[in-house]
Amino acid sequence: MSLSEWGNSSKTTSADNTRAEVFSSLSVKEMEAIAKRLRRHIITMTGKAGSGHPGGSLSAVEIVTALYFMVLRHKPSDPQWADRDRFILSKGHAAPLLYATLAECGYFPVDELATLRQLDSRLQGHTDRVVTPGVEMSAGALGQGLSFAIGVALAGRLNSQNYRVYVLLGDGECDEGQIWEAAMAAAHFKLDNLVAIVDNNGQQIDGWNRDVMSLDPFSDKWQAFGWHVIEVNGHELTRLIEAFDQAKLVKGKPTVIIAHTIKGKGVSFMENNPDFHGKVPNAEEVEIALKELE
């Protein structure tokens, strides 16, 4: 099945139109421009740092763009705002994407992106909640984010706060048993304020998921664990936003959005190329990539 065939599995109804305070008025065209900027940042900053994870950052660009520039209620000027919607990056190696997004939102200066992975930078190789404004969770060891998100969602419910919790997982990350412990628990606790998004780019480090460790039938697994499942083309902003809207209507259970994506998306020689999981483009490749992303 080609990517474009992945539509939403049901119609969108917009129940709650509260959008990101600052960005809610953006058009899809403007968001697409932002997505392109994020890709350029990812290439530039990992190229400059000389290490990092461009592939799994590029695949989730639209997911994170839709969230930060449309879906999330957040205040870049007040990262600790108690009622903010939470975005938790479980696949912490996609830190360059999160940093670029936070910078574009205004959490810290865009110039700071150039310090990625340098000594004394606030932008650690993997996310660090203690030092970086806007980062909710320290990550890097895979498999923990969904559990963390459950804790955040339970706290919101206990406090009668209506913030929503979004957590981004890798598909390879779903090899971890803890993901399924958490999947069981989120359904058991009936956390309808929790949405997991799987960046389903089909790859992990040693190759394709299906060769390393089969996940199929992936969507059935989530369903069997008690989740509402939505499958979507993870590079189409409109479809993603519809999916997030649909998730708001689901009551009594958590929702997972399986976002079909392409690892390395947007740069021809990086797309579906496992080499660029943890390898960065050299100077020449940076130039070619930036040209492609003009």
């Binding site: 969770m137 320290s138 923990q144 559990s147 963390f148 955040v152 206990l158 412990e181």
Partner: protein
């Protein structure tokens, strides 16, 4: 004989007290709430109690998420499963994340008894003590347990409290106040110092009484806070008594003895002896039988004191 009281029960009851005073206290367990006694809290505050099932890795990271959202989570199970089974989770999501999570485990050490080595937590202090930012506490009786749990609830940061399965004789009376990070002098003495934790504190007191009959004047320190350790009390003991014996229900490697030896070596080298489990796993048996077989009795402490004094 002083009265024997359950540390676990003291923990459970203190949680209820804390829960009444502070709505932000939440409690998690991993299908052992009958044993850890978090069940008391569960009965009183069902909405603030989360049984995570037999999934310890998930539990400790849920606790981290709760802490990141302003709650004060206490997560409990057996000491052999937390930290052992979820070390990486504790490391990244609690220690490195600097989150206000309280891990309170029960069934520490070989005093668990009949369940055998799979249930004897003899490495937990070494594991958890290795994590930057963690405070590690091992109470010596039920009174100290209740006190410590209250202090921990009121102090920000990651904490580990290790309790044991058996009831222990009270070594304190009700007006004892737990002082975080401070050793407690249980007996004065100038010939040698025994520094003990948990179940070994009452054994150390018994040993000191017996030694006195042999004309040996032994200082006894309870060291309820293992980390950060009370360096001043150790240096004082080393310089005033010239010999130190440590006593713990834990492997010799990485526990109380190791931590104190480092302080002694750095600041005031004196002869030391270590009453602890020697690089092995124990077997099934009654707690008292195991403590005897693996060298964790008052008698073993006495012999260690005789040895260490000879080396002075």
């Amino acid at each position: 004989m002083p009265q024997e009281v359950s540390l676990r029960e003291a923990y459970g009851k203190t949680l209820v007290e804390l829960g009444k005073a502070n709505p932000d206290i939440v409690v998690l367990d991993a299908d052992l709430s009958r044993s850890t006694m978090t069940r008391f809290f569960a009965r009183e505050f069902p909405n603030r109690f989360f049984d995570c099932g037999i999934a310890e890795q998930n539990m400790v990271v849920i606790a981290a998420g709760l802490a990141a959202s302003g709650k004060i989570p206490f997560a409990s199970t057996f000491a052999v499963f937390v930290p052992g089974r979820c070390f990486d989770q504790i490391r990244m999501s609690i220690a490195y994340s600097q989150l206000n999570v309280k891990l309170v485990t029960t069934h520490g050490g070989i005093s668990v008894g009949e369940d055998g080595a799979s249930h004897h937590s003899v490495e937990d202090l070494s594991l958890i003590g290795s994590l930057p930012g963690f405070t590690v506490i091992v109470p010596a009786d039920a009174i100290e347990t209740a006190q410590a749990v209250k202090v921990v609830a009121a102090t920000n940061g990651p904490f580990y409290i290790r309790l044991c399965r058996p009831k222990l004789p009270l070594v304190y009376n009700e007006d004892y106040r737990f002082n975080l990070g401070k050793a407690v002098t249980m007996r004065q003495g100038m010939d040698a110092t025994v520094i003990a934790i948990g179940i070994m504190v009452s054994a150390a007191l018994e040993a000191a009484d017996n030694l006195r009959r042999h004309g040996i004047d032994c200082r006894v320190l309870n060291m309820p806070t293992l980390k950060p350790i009370d360096e001043a009390a150790i240096i004082k003991a080393a310089s005033e008594t010239g010999a130190i014996v440590t006593a713990e229900d834990h492997l010799e490697h990485g526990g109380l003895g190791s931590i104190i030896a480092q302080v002694v070596a750095r600041h005031h080298p004196v002869p030391m002896e270590f009453v602890a489990i020697k690089d092995t796993y124990a077997k099934s048996g009654k707690a008292t039988e195991l403590l005897q077989k693996y060298g964790l009795t008052a008698k073993d402490i006495e012999q260690a004191v005789h040895r260490v004094i000879k080396k002075k």
